[in-house]
């Protein structure tokens, strides 16, 4: 399960495109993950892929997230079968890209035989760059049979883009402790603006946060955390009184109290002057 496997918790946590639940006990994952340990599956439009930034080698990134595997949905506009490999061009309406599918196993050949020129397909592959030209090395491809999938893919591209850009925008606003994009590990924020942690495609430091669907207080906790993570509250020494939190957020004080107790035992907030004033542990 560790490192690159897709599992149910990740699906609930992020809508199905989160690749790895990189959770082990006591693992300070935020500081030790390198590019190769982060396996992402990004649905992209070809326009996004062509505007992906690169650090010169084969490391591409979009919206601050390193690209590992991409999912593309488009039409096959050219195809050449060379027995051991199939070269084809996929056009998704935003652009086109050269693709290669190596067919050495029987299963791979059969998979390619189901795909024909002019068909809409969904493919997964790795992005490669050679002499400045980008192409996709495809390892999974299948024809689209229900065309709602096309609408779904583009909607997902927009969602993922929004998720990644919002997460970064949110973290930068929170005290600016990290000044770069996602390459630098950021503090784990399980109750930040989006349902999972601030680091794209990495869930919280332990499994407890993935139980959000069973947690009735999750929404309130999230709201309280967003409130306490605002810059003005992060810098204030004394923190915020929980009645003020309740008044500002228009949540019953009892619920705020309950949320804060749970957040405090999770390590997300701490009491300052006395046990009525609280501060977020972000940047603490």
């Amino acid at each position: 399960m560790y490192g690159g496997e897709f599992d149910g918790n990740a699906a609930f946590a992020g809508g199905g495109f989160m690749p790895s639940q990189s959770t082990t006990q006591g693992n300070d994952s935020s500081s030790s993950l390198k590019n190769r340990d982060v396996r992402t599956l990004l649905p992209l439009t070809l326009k996004q892929l062509s505007s992906a930034t690169t650090n010169g080698e084969s490391n591409f990134s979009v919206d601050g997230v390193d690209i590992n595997t991409v999912a593309i949905v488009g039409r096959i506009s050219r195809m050449e079968n060379r027995i051991t490999q199939v070269d084809f061009v996929v056009d998704d309406g935003t652009g086109w890209v050269d693709c290669v599918r190596w067919c050495q196993e029987r299963q791979e050949t059969e998979e390619m035989e189901a795909v024909r020129l002019g068909m809409y397909v969904r493919l997964h592959g790795h992005v490669k760059s050679f002499q400045g030209k980008r192409s996709v090395n495809v390892f999974s491809i299948r024809p689209v049979t229900d065309f709602n999938e096309i609408v779904h893919h583009f909607t997902e591209c927009m969602y993922v883009h929004m998720y990644n850009t919002k997460v970064q925008g949110g973290s930068v606003a929170q005290g600016g402790s990290t000044t770069q994009a996602t390459a630098t590990p950021r503090p784990q924020m399980p109750y930040s603006t989006m349902p999972t942690s601030a680091k794209p495609y990495q869930t919280g430091p332990s499994n407890q946060f993935s139980n959000q669907i069973n947690d009735p207080m999750h929404g309130v906790k999230q709201t309280v955390m967003n409130y306490l993570n605002q810059p003005m509250h992060l810098v204030s020494e004394a923190g915020v009184h929980c009645d003020i939190i309740a008044r500002d957020l228009r949540i019953p004080p009892l619920q705020v109290r309950q949320a804060i107790e749970q957040l405090s035992s999770d390590g997300c907030v701490y009491s300052t002057v006395d046990d009525t004033c609280f501060k977020s542990t972000l940047n603490a």
Partner: protein
């Protein structure tokens, strides 16, 4: 890889913004003639599609990719049957987002 000739996702109302440019849209087929198909866009406007003289059998929904000739007609280069179970409302919302807030992901 090339992104120099994208086709914009349009519905009936957005078509006028891309006259002369390559567009793509899905219509619900109402009727067809030799060389043209009349359809209803995902936002209930009428669109005429001029295409090849032989029209193959069409399903309820048809995707058309081509050049927008006017605010209600398209000269098709490619068309694809999208079946009978396509959701036009989702597509309509996609068109609005792809021409609006998320235009930079598409064009």
């Amino acid at each position: 890889m090339d992104t120099s000739s994208p086709s914009a996702f349009v519905n009936g109302a957005l078509l006028r913004r891309y006259i002369g440019q390559k567009v793509r849209t899905v219509i619900q087929v109402i009727g067809s003639d030799t060389g043209s198909v009349i359809g209803k866009s995902t936002d209930d406007l009428q669109i005429v599609v001029r295409g090849p003289s032989t029209t193959p059998p069409l399903t309820t929904y048809l995707e058309v990719i081509g050049i927008a000739e006017s605010d209600n007609s398209i000269r098709a280069e490619t068309w694809t049957n999208f079946g009978n179970t396509f959701d036009p409302q989702n597509y309509n919302e996609l068109c609005k987002l792809a021409s609006g807030e998320f235009k930079h992901l598409f064009i």
